[in-house]
Subunit: 409 residues, 2 copies
């Protein structure tokens, strides 16, 4: 109700969280820049190339079990009562190049992973054999191909086991290694420039002056960026002046994919940020029907996503979880970084306000999620929480014992 | 059935997965060694100290909203029709040390985060005020303490907001920062020495000789170690001789908390490893009722956990997921590294063998988990999978459409 000339303007326009996310996500273009890295460093990175098999895996037919390489036909009708007798003409270990070939009536002792000798078409498992000098009794029949991995059975030469956009999990790193490939082309991690604003903010390690509090937000923001698969760049603390903010913004936009100012989105400072963002690009929204986190500002400047987040620590961290994390993950092409969720029963009745999305921190014990909220400035209300639930804007009450999805912190 | 003098002995004793895990976990002692690190590097690390608050957070009573610092009593019964009139005697911004004090009948323009002036006990939100020069109309009453964060409200000086054993999530890093603390004592990450064995294994980057395959396992094992919160140390490929294995073991046991040999647990090589492990410590089990992953060997040597894993890539990776990952996580005191799970419907009927636990890789599409298994040597059967399900040893059949818990890869 303050008149429009007041220096502390209220928000003119609050949009729904859904609209805010839609406007934001419409402007996110996944990273196209790539880098060439060692397979040793590639866990959870996103392939920026198809992987084409230059060899067959395995490169030869090999034994899948320890036992005896045989001609399957020689073992037909073998049983404990009527075992088949074969002459063992040698042994092949894994890594040996078999110098010997065998024919019907013969067998070769073979280790798992060893190349099948010429003439053999299957492997009788050692468990079903008996050894008498160079005579081997086979107690169970095998069919042609049994206990043998065929050449190219895992990956055929010329095929593509992995494609551009695949995330390199442990098993996919294994598939790349199987082909002998040591380096892979992956998408760069999104670079996120983080600046703290607010003249009341004191860097860690310095003594607080009266009226000051320590910098919390650049630390929590950097943590959310890392957890979401991005790379944080800390620009430090910036004075709440148009010149200082513009200078920091100019520096950030030169290298970063995402620029975040914390503490600069509440009224006066927010207006400075809006001016700076809109001078260079397009403001997407300022003010969201979200609690905590209402005074979020988002803009697009030269394909870079720019945020102004509230300065109060939990509001800032909530904004980061709701807007920054998803933005980083979408830019990164990544799946590994989506937050874990668990189901729990809500520990008490929680009223909410229709038309506003509420983010509520909870502590989980024995399947029950107890609200952990203290006040919007209290970092401990989140530090003591295990996760958070999101109460949609069309819900005005969540009953005790209702099943809720908890996003783990 | 081969006689006991055979060079390729079958397993003498297969124990259940549950017994194997119990024997193993009984011997795991969480890491006690610690290191002092910067808060910037502390995400997901585990505190090895209690954090004691040396200051109050906030260090002073501050405005939680933009508006006017008031004496609450002055606003009682204020309404749109009958606003209360107060004289504004100045403004305080965040970071200012207030030089002014106020009394009843007065107010001070105040920004979120700014120190409350002497004499004020609450903040009237700017949305419910109107400004006429230095006269302010208050349209809504506030109660004492409203829109004010009290000194120490978030963290009280002398209390402990975080304890030894807590994992440093984004919000907990925020709580440490709130206290101005720049460095924290955390538990060391478990060091895992990884050696590949098998004369058929060729290092990446070299040309395959006949009978050889590329090294997959040291890459997948290192990935599982990283995903589980440990630090992998690659000892490279070791020849399948008693001397070479003993030498690698001696080197590993000197620095590592966990020692893993891959490919050395199948029969002949396994026997060498058993000899080495039992010469220095105690074998916990060799051979588990698990598919794939039967030939797993585990031992404890001087409080170090030692593994011999099967050489076939999926058997090795499954053993790593079932035994190595949990061991690393327990040693690490960590929570962040437990795998994500999702519920899905099984896409087809899957028979299993009573008395044996089955690990089955699956691909998830639209809530349906389709088995992705190819053969035990096929790394692509895991690389194409999104996760795996564990079919317990007392289940012989999982029906199509049954709900299963999928551990994401």
């Amino acid at each position: 109700m303050s008149k429009s000339g007041s220096k502390t303007k209220p928000f003119k326009e609050l949009i729904s969280l859904e609209s805010a996310q839609e406007r934001l996500f419409d402007h996110i273009k996944p990273i196209s820049a790539t880098e060439d890295i060692s397979l040793n460093e590639a866990l959870n990175r996103i392939l920026a190339q198809d992987i084409t098999a230059g060899i067959n895996v395995p490169p030869f037919a090999r034994a899948a079990m320890d036992g005896y390489a045989v001609v399957a036909e020689d073992t037909y009708n073998a049983s404990d009562l009527k075992p088949k007798l074969l002459k063992c003409i040698g042994a092949i270990y894994a890594g040996d190049e078999p110098a010997l070939a065998m024919t019907q009536g013969q067998c070769v002792s073979i280790a798992t992973g060893a190349m099948l000798p010429d003439g053999a078409n299957s492997v009788a498992m050692v468990e079903y054999t008996e050894e008498f000098g160079d005579e081997i009794k086979i107690h169970k029949s095998v069919h042609p191909g049994e206990n043998v991995s065929k050449r190219g059975n895992d990956i055929q030469e010329g095929t593509k086991p992995l494609f551009d956009g695949y995330e390199l999990t442990a098993s996919r790193i294994g598939a790349v290694a199987a082909l002998g490939i040591q380096r892979v082309e992956v998408y760069l991690k999104p670079k996120v420039a983080i600046a703290g604003t607010g003249n009341e903010i004191c860097p860690l390690g310095q003594e607080l002056k009266p009226g000051q509090v320590y910098d919390i937000n650049t630390y929590t923001l950097a943590s959310v960026v890392k957890s979401s698969g991005g790379e944080p760049f800390l620009l430090g603390l910036v004075n709440d002046t148009r010149e200082a903010l513009a200078e920091a913004f100019k520096k950030a936009i030169e290298f970063a994919d995402i620029v975040v100012f914390s503490g600069g989105s509440s009224v006066g400072e927010r207006d400075l940020l809006i001016d700076i963002f809109s001078a260079h690009g397009k403001v997407l929204f300022h003010g969201v029907q979200l609690k905590p986190g209402k005074p979020v500002l988002a803009a697009v400047v030269k394909d870079r996503i720019c945020f102004g987040f509230p300065g109060f620590p939990t509001s800032c961290l909530t904004s980061a979880l709701i807007f920054l994390g998803p933005t980083v993950r979408k830019l990164a092409h990544g799946q590994a970084y989506w937050p874990k969720t668990v189901k729990a029963k809500l520990g008490r009745r929680v009223p909410s306000t229709l038309g506003r999305t509420q983010v509520l921190t909870v502590k989980i014990a024995e399947g029950v999620a107890q609200p952990a909220f203290k006040e919007s400035g209290a970092i401990t209300s989140m530090a003591e929480a295990d996760g958070y639930i999101v109460i949609p804007s069309n819900v005005d009450l969540v009953e005790k014992d209702e099943s809720v999805e908890v996003f783990l912190l």
